[in-house]
Symmetry: C2
Subunit: 586 residues, 2 copies
C-alpha cells in the first residue's frame, strides 16, 4: 500500500476540519479558509519584522505581505542574541484525514502572543502541485492560518521552483555527460538521482528519456518525483548556511560508474551552479498568522523519504529572534518527532524545551478500531481503547528523549463531551497534562490554556537524549528505532537491503543517521496495525543513500514519491472570478 504524502494528508485534514467546524461555529460553506484568510487585513510585513526586531535592511520584500530575510542576518543574530525556547508540535499516528498539527501550531503561537510572549513560528512551506489534486491548502485552517494563504500555496517566493531547477540541472548534466562521451563511465542502468516536478503527475513516475535521433541523447529509464521528495529539498533544509549547502550539494550521489563506484554531483561540476540557483531559496520567508504572529515558512521536505521539517536556518533564526519558537514535524511522533530529534536537532545543535503531542478524539477512536466512515458516531469505549497509541508516543518522548510533553486534544465538531472527557481522563491517568484546544474555530483564543500548560511544562534543564548513536552500525541504528520508538519485536532485512547497507558502510557512510520511510498510520510498517501493535516484525525492503542530505533512507513498504490526480481534480473547479479573485482553490 502506497504511503500518502504529507501534503495530501494536510489537504484532506483541512477539508474535514472545515466540514466539521461549520457545525459549531456557524461558518457557512461560503465562508471557507480562503474567505477567512482574505477577510483579514495583513499587517505590513515590515511591521511583522519589527515585532521580532528584524531591521529593514535585512528584509527583501516579495509583494507586500511576504519578505525574505538576508542570510547574513542569521550570523549576526547568533553572535548577539541567545536562543529562546523551542516548542515542537508532533502528533499521535494520524487518521487518513490528519490531526491538525499545523493548525494547532499556529493557534498555539497566537495564544503565546496573546499572553504577551514574543513568539515566532517555524513551518514548512507547501508544494504547489498537490493544490490542484485535492482541494485545500497547507497553511493551517479556519481561524488558525498563515497568510497570504493563496500566495503561499501558489508560487510563494519561488523556493520550490529553485529546488526543482537545481535538481533538473543536475539531471541534465548527468545525461549531457553521458551523451558527450561519458568520461566518468556512468552506468546508465544505475543512476539513482531522478528528475522532479512540483505537480501531481503519475504519468511521469516512470519514463524512458533520450529517445529520438542520435543527437537527442542516450536512452535510459528515469522518472520524476514531486519536488518535495527531491534530495535537494532535504539538503536545503539541513544546510547551516551557504558553504554547508555547497558541500552537501557536491556530495550528492547521482549513481554509480561501471565499476560500481559512486559518482557525485561534484564529479559533474554541478555544485556551484546549483548553489547559485538556490541562493535566494536559502533565505527564510517571513509571513504572518491571521493574528499577526510572525511565521518563518521555509522548506518542505517529505516526512517519509526525508526528515519532514522546515529548514534549520528558519528554526535557528526564529529561535534567536523570539522568546518562544513553535515548530512542527511531519506525520506522527514515530516518524516526525523521531527525525526532528535524531536528525535535525543533532545536525543543528538544537533541542526542544517542550513537546506538544496533538491528538484527536477521531484518531483515538480510529486506533480503538472504529472504521473511517464511522468516526462521526459517539464511541467512548473506542476512545479508551485507542489511547494506547497516545500512550506509546508519550512514553517515547518522555523516557527515551527525556522531554516534557503536553497533550493537545484538538477539538472537532463531531466530538461528544463524553468522548472528550474520556480522552482527557485517560491521558491524566498516565500522569500527563492534557488540554483541549479549539483553534480552528477560535484561533489563538482557543489555545490559551494550551499555551499556559506548555510554558509551565518547560524545565530549566533538558539535555539531548536519543534512541541510537550515530556510531552504531547502520542495521543496529534501524533496530534501535524499530524496537525503542516503534515497539517492534525485531527487524528483518531483505537481501538487497543487507547488501546495500554493507556497500554504504564500505563507502564510508556508516556514521550517517537513518531516515525511516514507512506508513504514517501505524507504529509498524503495516497501515492496518493500529493502536499500539506488539510482537511485530518490521521489514526493511530496501535502503537508499542521501549522501547530500546526510542520511540513509530505510524503505519499509512502497513509498509514493510522485502523487497522481484524482478522477475529478481540484484544478477543474479552480478559476478567477470576474474581479480577478481566485475561487475554488480552498
Amino acid at each position: 500500500m502506497p504511503i500518502i504524502i504529507t501534503h495530501i494528508d494536510k489537504h484532506m485534514q483541512m477539508n474535514e476540519n472545515r466540514a466539521n467546524s461549520q457545525i459549531i461555529t456557524g461558518v457557512t460553506p461560503m465562508n471557507n479558509d480562503l474567505k477567512i484568510a482574505n477577510s483579514t487585513v495583513a499587517e505590513p510585513i515590515a511591521k511583522i519584522a519589527e515585532k521580532l526586531g528584524i531591521p529593514e535592511e535585512a528584509l527583501v520584500p516579495y509583494g507586500k505581505d511576504i519578505a525574505k530575510i538576508q542570510l547574513s542576518y542569521l550570523t549576526q543574530l547568533e553572535k548577539t542574541k541567545k536562543p529562546g525556547r523551542l516548542i515542537l508540535i508532533t502528533a499521535i499516528n494520524p487518521t487518513p484525514a490528519g490531526e491538525g498539527k499545523t493548525t494547532v501550531s499556529i493557534g498555539l503561537a497566537d495564544a503565546l502572543s496573546r499572553r504577551g510572549r514574543k513568539t515566532c513560528l517555524a513551518l514548512r512551506e507547501p508544494s504547489l502541485g498537490p493544490v490542484f489534486g485535492i482541494k485545500g491548502g497547507a497553511t493551517g485552517g479556519g481561524y488558525a492560518q498563515a497568510i497570504p494563504m493563496e500566495d503561499i500555496n501558489l508560487h510563494f517566493t519561488g523556493d520550490i521552483y529553485a529546488v526543482t531547477t537545481a535538481n533538473n540541472l543536475l539531471c541534465a548534466m548527468i545525461d549531457n555527460h553521458i551523451y558527450h562521451g561519458n568520461e566518468l563511465r556512468i552506468d546508465v542502468k544505475n543512476i539513482t538521482f531522478k528528475r522532479c516536478m512540483d505537480m501531481n503527475d503519475r504519468a511521469l513516475r516512470n519514463i524512458v528519456c533520450g529517445l529520438g535521433v542520435r543527437t537527442d541523447g542516450i536512452p535510459r529509464e528515469d522518472g520524476f518525483d514531486i519536488s518535495a521528495a527531491s534530495e535537494i529539498m532535504a539538503v536545503l533544509c539541513l544546510a547551516s548556511g551557504q558553504a554547508d549547502l555547497r558541500r552537501r550539494l557536491d556530495r550528492i550521489t547521482i549513481g554509480y560508474n561501471l565499476d560500481g563506484e559512486p559518482v557525485l554531483a561534484k564529479d559533474l561540476g554541478a555544485g556551484g551552479a546549483m548553489s547559485v540557483i538556490l541562493k535566494e531559496a536559502i533565505k527564510p520567508n517571513l509571513v504572518q498568522t491571521l493574528e499577526h504572529t510572525p511565521v518563518l515558512m521555509h522548506g518542505g521536505p517529505f516526512a517519509n523519504i526525508a526528515h519532514g521539517c522546515n529548514s534549520i536556518i528558519a528554526t535557528k533564526m526564529a529561535n534567536h529572534l523570539a522568546d518562544y519558537t513553535v515548530t512542527e514535524a511531519g506525520f506522527g511522533a514515530d516518524l516526525g518527532a523521531e527525525k526532528f530529534l535524531d536528525i535535525k536537532c543533532r545536525a543543528a545543535d538544537l533541542w526542544p524545551d517542550a513537546v506538544v503531542l496533538v491528538a484527536t478524539v477521531r484518531a483515538l477512536k480510529y486506533h480503538g478500531g472504529v472504521p473511517k466512515d464511522q468516526l462521526n458516531t459517539e464511541n467512548v469505549d473506542a476512545v479508551k481503547k485507542g489511547i494506547v497509541n497516545l500512550q506509546r508516543h508519550l512514553g517515547t518522548l518522555k523516557n527515551i528523549y527525556g522531554l516534557p510533553v503536553v497533550v493537545a486534544l484538538n477539538h472537532f465538531a463531531t466530538d461528544t463531551q463524553a468522548e472528550m472527557d474520556e480522552a482527557l481522563k485517560q491521558t491524566a491517568s498516565m500522569g500527563a497534562k492534557a488540554v483541549l484546544c479549539d483553534v480552528w474555530a477560535k484561533g489563538g483564543e482557543g489555545a490559551l490554556e494550551l499555551a499556559d500548560a506548555v510554558t509551565d511544562s518547560i524545565l530549566n534543564h533538558s539535555s539531548p537524549s536519543h534512541p541510537y548513536d550515530y556510531a552504531e552500525p547502520i542495521a543496529q541504528k534501524i533496530n534501535d528505532i524499530a524496537t525503542r520508538v516503534y515497539g517492534a519485536e525485531r527487524v528483518d532485512f531483505s537481501k538487497t537491503a543487507k547488501q546495500k547497507i554493507k556497500m554504504y558502510e564500505d563507502q564510508g557512510y556508516a556514521n550517517l543517521p537513518v531516515c525511516i520511510a514507512k506508513t504514517q498510520y501505524s507504529f509498524s510498517d503495516d497501515p492496518k496495525k493500529l493502536g499500539a501493535p506488539e510482537n511485530f516484525t518490521m521489514d526493511v525492503r530496501d535502503v537508499a543513500l542521501s549522501s547530500g542530505a546526510g542520511f540513509i533512507v530505510v524503505l519499509c513498504g512502497t513509498i509514493m514519491r510522485m502523487p497522481g490526480l484524482p478522477k475529478k481534480p481540484a484544478a477543474e473547479s479552480i478559476t478567477l472570478n470576474e474581479n480577478g479573485e481566485t475561487i475554488g482553490l480552498f
Copy 2:
C-alpha cells in the same frame, strides 16, 4: 539543420560583443557584463516608476530593484492617457553571433532619455535554462544593460515558472483524464501538446511516459520543449488582459479524439486553474537600464515557432506611460518584424512610428560571402556585396509596411574605418538614413545620433499596411509572406502540410495569421543561402495549430524546441564566491 534558438543566439552575441569591445574600451576580461552591471547603483524601483508617473499602489515589489505592475493600472491608463510613439528595433539576417538588437534597444532608449524624452523599453524576459549552457545572459551587454541582470537572468519574478507550471498542469490533466477512463476518447497517438521545462535538456526531447504498473498511468510517447517554446508563453504574450488570457487558454488544442476531432483545454476543464497559476505572471515587470531608463520586461516566446516579442500588455502599458517606447522583435526583420507587425500589432491594435534596422559590418561581410572564422579580417568588398541583405529588409519595411526606417550600424571593435564608411555609404545610396552607434562601450552616449535620427524620421501619419490579409486562404498567406517579404519564387507544400491546412480550414481556423518557423540566417529556408537569395523555393514541411495563441505555425525545416547543453556547459564554471556573489555566470 536545426535552427538555433533566440536565446542561445543572444548568449553568443554577448560573448562576441564583449570580446571585441574590450579592444577599444580598455574593458578587461575581469570587467565583464556582470561586473559592469553590479558596479552601478540601481535607483529605487519606486523612483523608476515615478519617472513614468506610476503610482505606488500600482507597484508590487519583488526584492528592491524589481516590481510588477498591477494589471488594473493598464485599464486606467488606456482611459486617461494617449499612447506615445512606438519604435521597433529589428535587424538584418544575423550571423550566428547575433547583431546586438537588445543592446541597441537599450542604448537607444538611454539616448532618448538623455535627450530629455520620457522613454520606456518593452523587452522580452530571458529564460533560465540556456544560462547554464552557453555563458552569457540576455539583458544587453557592456554599458547598455538592463539591471539587476543576475536576478533577471535567474528566477526574476517567476513568470517562466508560472508558464511551465500551467503547461505541465494541462499535461497532467490530459494523462489523468486518459487514466481515469478517457471519457473524451483522446487518441494517445495524436496528442499535440507537450510538457515543458526551462532547462537545456536534450534527453527530454522524446520520452515515453506512463510506464510502470497499472496505477502509473497509460504509456504513450511525449516530450518536453523548453518553456519559451510553450504555447502558454505565446498565449501570455498575446493576451490583452485576464479575460482574454482565459479565452486563449481554454481554446488551446491539446490533440485529437479517436474520431479526429480536436480536443481543447476547455474540454479538460483546465483553463481556470491555468489562469490562476498565471495571475501574477500576466503583470508586467518593471526594471531599469544602467542609466536608469525604465524597462518593462515581460514574456519571452520563441521567434520561430512563436511570434518572438514581449507581451502585448507590456508594450501597451509602456506606450501609454512614455512618450517614446522602444521595443524589439526576435531574429532578423523577415521573422521578427514580420510577426511583430502582422501578428502582434494586429492583435493589439498597435503600429510603430519608426523602425530601427540594426546591421553590423560583420553580418554584412557574412552575407558578402566571408566565412564565420574570417569575420575579423578587413574586407570592404564583402561589405559592399553583403549590403543586398540590408537592402531587401529595408525595401520590405518601407514599401510593404510603409514604415520610416533608420539603419543603425552597431559598432564592433573589429570593424575597420573603411568597412564602416562603405556600409554607411551603401546605405545612403539606397536613400536611407544610416547612423553608426557604439552602445556596448558607451551606453546611451553611443546612440545619441541614432536617437535624433529616429525622432526625426517619425512621420505624422503612418497607417498599418500588411503583406497579406487574414481572410485569405492559409496557403495564400504563406505564399504572400514568402514572395513579398522573403523574395521567394514559390512555395512548395508537403502532402502532410496540405492535408493539415485543409483540416485547420475545415475546423474554422482559416482566418488565423500564419507564424513562420524557419532559419534566421537567411531570407530562405536554407541557412546557407546568404545575402538576398532569388529564385528560391520555400519548402513547407509541416504546419501546426496554436489555437490558443491564435496562429498557424508553418514549419520550414527542423525547428529545435529543446536545446541541449554543450560538452562543457557554462554550469560547470558558475558558482558563488566566499562573499556569496555569483561568479562565472556572465
